[in-house]
Each structure stands twice: as C-alpha cells, then as structure tokens.
Symmetry: D2
C-alpha cells in the first residue's frame, strides 16, 4: 500500500487535535504521509495558539519533525468577535493547560507563510496531495486570489469540515462555525476550486439527531482506558475536552474534524450516505450569511456539481476508529 500525501490546514481546537492524532496514527500504519500542518486565525483561536496546540500533540506523539506553518491572521473581511461563539476557549484548548509546557511559537514554526507553503508543496507534487481544511477557509481563499485557478489545479482533493446543507446553524442560527468565521473565504473556495474535487462533512450529520457517541463514553469509559494504556496525547485531551464539554451538558461527543478524517480513511465503513451537488455560500443574507446553499432546482448546465456531501456517518465505526488511535484495537 502506497502512503497518500496529506496536509492538515487547521484552527487549533480539540477536534483539530483529534484529526491530527488520527493522521499521525495512520502515518504510523503506513497509510498516509503528513507533509505539513498549517494554521489559520479567525476560527477557534489565533494562528499562534493553533500552532502551539498542534505542537503539543506532535510532541506528545514524538513527531516534532512535522513542520508547522503560520497562516492567515484574520478572515478576509476582518473578524466580528461580537457575533462569535467560542466553544474551545480563548486558546482553543479550553484555557486549561500550562503555557510553560510549550516552546515559543517563533522557535518551532517554519519561516514561510502557510499560503505559500501549501502552494509550493502542491506544485512539487501536483495532484498527489489531499488537503484537509478543518478551520475557516481563509488560507485557501488567499491562495486562490494570489495564484488563481492554478492554486487548486495542483491539489489532488480537498476535504472540508464546514458548512451545513439543511440550514442548521451552530455559530449563527443558520450558519456553521467554520464557514461563518469567514463566509467570503468559503464562498470563494467553492466557486474557484473548479479543478479540484471537494468532499464536505457539513454540520448536520454531526448533530445529536444523527451522531451519537455519548460524552460519557468519551470521557469516562474510553478516556480512562486510553489513559491507562499510557497514551500521552489522549491523556492531555482528556483534560482539555472535560473542561470544554462538561459545562455545556451536551449529551454527545462529536469531534467534527476527526470525523471527517476518519470518513476519508475508512469511507466504506464510515459513510452511510453521500450525495453530490452544486453548492455555494450565501454572503448577504441577514440570517443566512455563511449558510451553504445547494442547488435544489438541479440546474446542472448552469451550475455544475462541485461538492460531494457526506450526509450520514456510522458512529459505532467512529468509536472503533478512536479506539484504534489509542492503540486499544488493531483494526477498525
């Protein structure tokens, strides 16, 4: 089996951490080759906090060799902090870890900007790299603006966690957090990535109605077993996610970014339903700014299909993936 190249473009929350852990474990098993972690501000936290959090995971996993690049500082139009819901704390990791555990950001990040790094890496391995975009799409939108269609032409496949397809919002009443954090970027990426296939995990399949991994299973059952097995990164995430999840009293654990990566690694088992659409992002709606909009009229000549949407995920399979990451099982 030949390892697939991947880049992780993330915004540093605890589910971004799980996505990274999953890629690292997949790499250990010869399934992927992780070329870079790129960060973006304007989502869960600043690009520097994001870099620090990802560095913590890499360190706990003894993979400080993976290069981290700092990306966009802000969304295209600037941030509207007033409107935003912070779920992951100010630092993306629940503000519960000791800052002294981490080197200075400037000491471990690469000198190149994330946008340039993505562009250069993909140019060197055209159509060979899968890009996971699990934060606001600012870095990608900037890449398309700076380099045009060519930017997307070199990417093999774009896998996005973000948006919604039935109008269910978690950041505003009708918009999902990643898209709502930079609606113009989301719009631009869907419009400009004509030469690169896109798979999207939207918000709806991650909601309680569709995805049921009890938070008690995550924090008590599984969390205890992983800690007992001595998994340093998961032990750290036990703390982070307890701080984030327990006060909210949400019944289920849905680390969306990791669900996307799991769906990509184990599609036949993980994905129970998917469909293809022409999708765009509304920018001007009073309530629907940042909402993804599908072409329900199916006017395919005018609006060709540009995204594949994952509609239903097998949560039992996802539990097995998580146990696999923790070393608690050999196979998924």
């Amino acid at each position: 089996m030949c390892a697939k190249y991947v880049i992780l473009d993330c915004d540093g929350g605890s589910d971004d951490a799980w996505a990274l852990l999953l890629l690292l474990h997949a790499e250990r098993n010869g399934m992927v080759k992780l070329l870079a972690v790129t960060t973006t501000g304007g989502g869960n936290t600043t690009r520097e906090h994001c870099a620090r959090n990802m560095r913590r995971i890499l360190k706990a996993y003894a993979r400080e060799d993976v290069p981290i690049y700092l990306g966009a500082v802000e969304p295209l139009l600037g941030s509207n902090d007033d409107e935003k819901k912070y779920f992951h704390g100010q630092d993306g990791f629940g503000d519960c870890l000791d800052a002294s555990d981490c080197e200075k950001v400037e000491d471990f990040v690469q000198p190149l900007h994330a946008v340039s790094a993505i562009y250069e890496l993909c140019r060197k391995r055209p159509k060979q790299i899968t890009l996971f975009a699990i934060g606001p799409l600012t870095n990608l939108a900037v890449g398309f603006t700076m380099y045009g269609e060519e930017f997307g032409a070199h990417i093999k496949e774009l896998c996005i966690m973000g948006g919604n397809y039935q109008g269910v919002g978690n950041s505003s009443r009708a918009a999902e957090f990643n898209f709502h954090s930079d609606p113009e970027a989301a719009h631009a990426v869907l419009a400009k990535a004509k030469r690169c296939p896109i798979t999207i995990l939207p918000w709806e399949p991650c909601t309680d109605k569709h995805f049921n991994v009890p938070i008690s299973w995550r924090l008590e059952d599984f969390g205890a077993r992983a800690a007992a097995a001595g998994h340093a990164a998961i032990t750290m995430l036990n703390k982070v996610e307890s701080v984030q999840w327990l006060p909210m009293r949400f019944p289920n654990w849905n680390p969306c970014d990791a669900i996307l990566v799991a769906a990509w690694l184990f599609e036949p088992q993980m994905v129970k339903k998917h469909s293809t659409w022409n999708a765009t992002v509304d920018l001007r709606g009073t309530h629907t700014r940042g909402q993804m909009v599908l072409d329900h009229l199916r006017e395919i000549e005018k609006y060709p299909e540009n995204v594949r949407i994952l509609e239903e995920i097998d949560n039992e399979c996802f539990k097995r993936v998580v146990e696999w990451i923790a070393g608690l099982r050999k196979e998924v």
Copy 2:
C-alpha cells in the same frame, strides 16, 4: 359538534382548488363554516384568474353563495416575473379550460377588497375564524400594515402553506414558491402576527422524500373512480391536473394546499411529526431570499417561538381524505 369558521386566502392553482373542495365537503359534513374566499395576485396567476378558478369549483359544487373577494394585485415590491417558475399555467388551471364557461369576474366578486373583507369578518367574530393562507401572504401583510397588530389580534389561528425549513427550494434553489413570490409579505406576517398562533406546512414534507402519493394513483385509479361517481369538480380537476402534472414526469402528487387543510381537519391521523420554532424569512440573501430560517440556536428569550411546523404527514391518510371528498368513503 360546532362548525368552525374559516376563510380561504388563495392564489388559484389546482391545489388551491383541492383545498377549497375539502373545505366545502367538510362544511357539508358540518365541520366548518366557510365565510369567504379571498384571492391574491402575484402567485400562481392574477387575482382575477384565481377568482374565476375558485368560482368554477364553487359552481361545480353548487355553492355560488360563498362570497369571493379580490385581493392584492401585486406583491409588496412588485413582481419579478423573470425569476418565477409557473407550474400551474398562466391561468392557474393549466390553461386548458374554456374561458367561456365562466361569468365575468366583476359580476360575481364582492365589491369590498379582500384585505378589508378579512379585517371586517374577523372583527365581527374575534378569535373565532381560522384563516388558511395558501398563496403569497400579500393580503395579510397589507392588513398588518394598514391596521397594525389589531389585524392579527382578531384572527383565531393562521394556517399557512408556504416556506421551507431545511433550505429546500422549488421556486429558487433555496426558497419555496409562496414565500418566494412575496418574501417581504412572508417576513412581515411572521414578525407581526404576535397575537395569533401560526401553523405552517412547509415544502419539505410535501417532497418525494417524505410524501408518496403516486401521480398514477391520482390521475388513473382515483381520478377514474371519482369521475365514475359523477363528481363534477373532481372531473374538471382530472383534466387540469393531467395537463399540469404529466408533462413534468413528477412521480408523486402533492397538492400542498389541500394537504394543509387536511392536516388541520384531521390532525391526529395526518400529522406524524411537528415542532415549534422561532422562524423568520430571509430577505437579503443572494440565494436565500424568501427562505424561512429557524432559530437553531434556540435563543428563546430574544426570539420567542412563533410558529408550529408540520414536519411529517401521513400520505396514506391523505389518500383517504381525498376519497372522502369524492364521496368514495364515509370516513377518514
């Protein structure tokens, strides 16, 4: 059993006709008292065509005594014919009936404007009249503007066919026909009807995914039986709906307006799922203009619940309702 007062505010399509037929049959069975039919332009057809079509049904049912009032000529902002999809033909009835079968509109409609008629009728019987709004909501929006909150305070209950709740559009990619035909009116009614409960049948439960009454059952099986039983109005609608439906090759028959009235008359059997929400209508979205938007954040203090949404309908039950209208069965 005490008959409930109803007014039918409609835009003259064939499903409006079915809604009227259902009310007439319910009246014959002592369930309701139909006080007026009011018409609106800017939806399926002009307010005059609408009046003519409803008059045809009333005549075929020997109920010329039911008064018809002409309502709004246009949507609040004027019509955008370019954007619209006409399903019911220019005249709302598939353009297939002989115009000579009908009196002149001015000879049979009431002199009062529909908006004034609704206002006066409801003032006389405060909180006793259920208003079915099965076209664009223009007449109601005008009433709220002219008379303020008082206009709604006299209405017992507002039952609306229109809008959507999962972003599925049939008039634009993200908007349903009735709301899209006058988005400002839909917005205004949801915002202003604070003293009058609202039930909405949106588009999604009427789509193939959720509602399956085969068009062949309608036009061949049931249509033949109703014609054989000598039902004049249904025989006329057999012709109208054949012209409308067959060229489209839609698999299912979903006369939305009639489904709403049936759900109201027979709620326990008809309605399998409903929920309450704060809902508004987006006016400014590029793609979501006219889309209904639910408050998925459930910020109830700021945005109190204002609508009840019918999410799932029993289509087998609806078939029984239709047979009941045709006199093919005694009970639903």
Copy 3:
C-alpha cells in the same frame, strides 16, 4: 385661475404642519383645493398623533371641514425603533402641547382608511389631483399593492419629500428619514408609479450647505412678527419649533415638507436647479438601506427616467413664502 386639487399625505411633524399651512393659505388665495389630509404612522409619530397635530393646525386656521383619514399603522416590514432618530418628539410636535386641547381622534377622523380614501378620491377625479407625500410612503405602497398600476394611473402628479441623491443621510449615515422609515415602500412607489410623474425634493438641497434660513430668523425675527400679527397656527408652531430646534443648536431652519410645497406652488422663483433621472431605492445595503440611487450610467433604454429631482432651492424666496403664509406680505 383654476384651483388645483391636492391631497396631503403626511406624518405629523412640524414641517408637515407648515406644508399644511401653506396649502391652506394657497387655498384661501384660490390657488388650490385641498381635498384631504391623510396620515401615516411609522414616521415622525403614530398615525393618531399625526391626525391630532394636523387637526390642531386646521382648527387654528378654522378649517375643520378638511377631512382627515387615518392611514397605515406601520411600515411594510414593521418598525425598527432602535435604528430611528426622533427629531420631532414622541408626538411629532415636540411633546410640548397640552393634550387636552384636542378632541378624541375617533371623533374627528373619517371612517374610511387613508389608502381607500386616496384611491377613491383619485378615481373620481382622474389625473386631476396632485398628491403630496411628505412622510414615509407606506400608504402609497399599500395602494399600489392592493390596486396595482391603476392606483397610480389616476394620480395627476406625485410630489415627494424624501430620499437623497448624493448619499447624504440624516436617519442613517446614508439614508434620509422618510425613505429610511419604510425603504420597501419608497422602493415600491418609485418602481410602480409608471403612469404618474414624480417630483422629489431630496435631503441634500435642504442641508446647511445649500439652504440657509437662520433658525434665529425663524424663531426670533419672523416668529415674533407673525405672533404680533395674531396668526394662531404660527404662534403654536413658534412654541413647537423652539422646543425642537433650540436644543439641537442647528444653525438653520429647513422645514423640508413645506419647502416641497412652496417649490410646487412657486416653481420658477423657488427652484434654481432640477434634473431628471432613473432612480431606485437600495433595500439590502448594510449602510445604504433606504438610500436613493440614481442611474449614473444613464442606461435609459433599460431604466427610463422616472423622477425629477429638485437640486437647488432659493432660500430667500422661501422666506418670502413664509411671510406670505403669515400674512406679512401680499406676494411672493
């Protein structure tokens, strides 16, 4: 000279009062015949306060015979009180007059709604009535929606105080008060009044940069002379306008509604510059909602000219008009 028929559709501020006074004085001089005063809510004050204020003027002028009709309660979309700047006080007259000086509103207003009154009056005298619209355009927009193009076809001429043409706002940063109070209505009237010429006095020619009648001239010089001459209505307005203007420390007096009527009565002397345009009203702009927008590309085939804009007014002439109203001079 043959008197011209006029209707005054107003929202009850002190400049509405001056517009009424000017029409009453013109009528006394055989220049016009005032058929009705119609009121609208959603502008300076409620429709009832508006009626009361206009009644005060009519009484002070001994013209209780002029019929007053109550119009729209609210703007088409409902009011956004948060966004509004009240200049004229809660009651439109600076909240400084004794409420006991006035009869009950229901005792002196006509039973018919203003929209119906305008429609009926203009139908009876087609193309003979000039309609002054000096508040939000809600009544007219409702008329066009209820009756279609025919509503405008009977009006001889529509004279509007409202809007702007260089982006200068007084209600929001880019919108004028009357248009901003019901942007949809302003948009609809400009779009639908195809069979009726429109003259607009926008905000810019009324600003200090273009119009200089010192408030001291108004309140001290002229006000004292009119009071000395025993003009009851102006004496009342001396009080009202002192309360409104002095705390603001605005240097100039610009009773916009009266300037419009004066420009119409004495156009050759009053109007120094005018131009014709295709104009519309922006509804969706973040900052430009309610702004009037001219077709500076002059794409006349697609967008025919629909308004005449008064760009510059002679303020010295206006002072003479005011003195003429007060009986301080025989001619303008």
Copy 4:
C-alpha cells in the same frame, strides 16, 4: 530635499502609465525613490498585461531597473466579468500596441509575489514608504489577511485612487471601477488599515462637472508638443489614449491615477478642497455594492475618521504637471 520612498500598486491602464511616468519624472528630479511596481489582475486587465504595460513605460523611460512584481490573479470573490465595463481594452492599453515589442513577462518580473514584496519592503523601511494603490485593492487586502494589522503598521501612508463619496458610479450606477472590481478588498482595507493614514481621490472630482482638461488639449495640443520634444513614453501614450478616448466622445481627459500622484506631489497647488471622514464600503447593496459610504451622522466615537478625501482638484495645475513630465516646463 530628501527623496520619499514610494511603491506603485497598479492595474495597468493608461492612467496607471501616467502615474508611473509622473513618479519617474519626480524621481529624476530627486523628489521620490520608486522602490517597486506591483500589479494586480481583476481590474483593467490581467496582472501579466499590467506588468507588460508598465514595463513598456519603464523601457521607454530607460528605467528597466525598477523591479516589477506580479500580484493577485483575481479579486477576493472571483471576477464577475459580466458586470464590468472595460474602458482600457483587453490589454489595458487599448489593444493597439504590437505584442512583439515586449519581452516575456516571466523574463522581467521578480520571483516574489507582490503581496510578499510589499510586506517585505515596508518591513525593511517601516513608516517610510508611501504606497499608491491605483487599481483594485486586492493585494493590500490579501496582505492584511495574511499578516494582520502589522501589514499596515509598516506603511507610512496609503494613497488610493478609487471609490466615490456622492454615489456617482462609473462601473455600476453607484460604484466606481476600482472599488467595484473588488468591493471586499476595498472594504477590508478601509476597515483594517487602522495604523496607516489613508488619502483617497474618489471618482467625483475627476468627472466633467469638476475637472476640465479637454481631450483635444491632451491629444492634439499637448500630445503634439510632447511628441515633437521626442518623449518616447508619451508618444506611445498618444496612440494608446487616442484609441481609448476618441470613440467614446468624452469631452475631457481625466487620467485619475496620475491626478492622485500629482495631488500628492504638489498638494498645495493641486488640492482645492479636502475633508476627513469615517468611510466604509457597502458590500450587500443591490445597486450600491462597492459604493463608498461616509458617516454623515458624524458618530465619531463609534466610527473614528479613517480617510482624507480629496474633493476638488485644480485642473489648470494638473496641465502644468503634465507639461512638466513631458519636459515642456521646468516648474509646476
């Protein structure tokens, strides 16, 4: 006198060429030091055509040493070619020059991207470089997104040709070409450049109403004199501007980009009126998308002044500037 550092960020039209020529002549006179020419697509032409046109001027002026950097390929949201008015031809220079006169773009442009070049140059000489932005503001917006507020903090002064302040449009009915070509970029720059003063020459002072340099003076009188004097670059522009201007039958010559540079170099003589405002750019208006909007309410605490607007320019002085460039006069 100490030369001031400048960078020219342009989109390659003939007025961009005049702006460059003016800077080159100023440099020859020891007034400025031109560090770089950066190009952007999405305005008059592609970034490559822009580079080629600027190279032609540099060559004609024997200044091939000035580095040219390619910038953004597209606007942030992608281009809407349908809506755009091309004044300068497909290639920005009237499509009238022989393509063979120019080297390959890749052979003379710098390897660095314009956004990085601007960032690096300004970081090296913090608060010493004046940046002229005379095309769509895409490069600057990308810089602010990638590097945050720091990007602007290093710039001494930003001089922009673009936008409007009285709603006069030349690209759409209410928007000016440069801002309309990338409204999001214009919005972002005005919002984010908090640590860098901005001077704007909007469209209105360049219109016939305010600026009168007859096209006949430019092409016949002055053009002939400059050609006779053997000025190679102007001789080339004689051809280019004849092709662009004459078919349009515009009466006046208004090379906006050069007017801005002239106003900066010779402010006391050139600028007859200026004012400071809080300004933003409307993004969502149906007609006002891309329009600049001033805070006419002057709510300075909430919206601090962020731009200086040049309202009136002395066109006689500009003619002297142009003659100075051509070597036809020693002083302005």
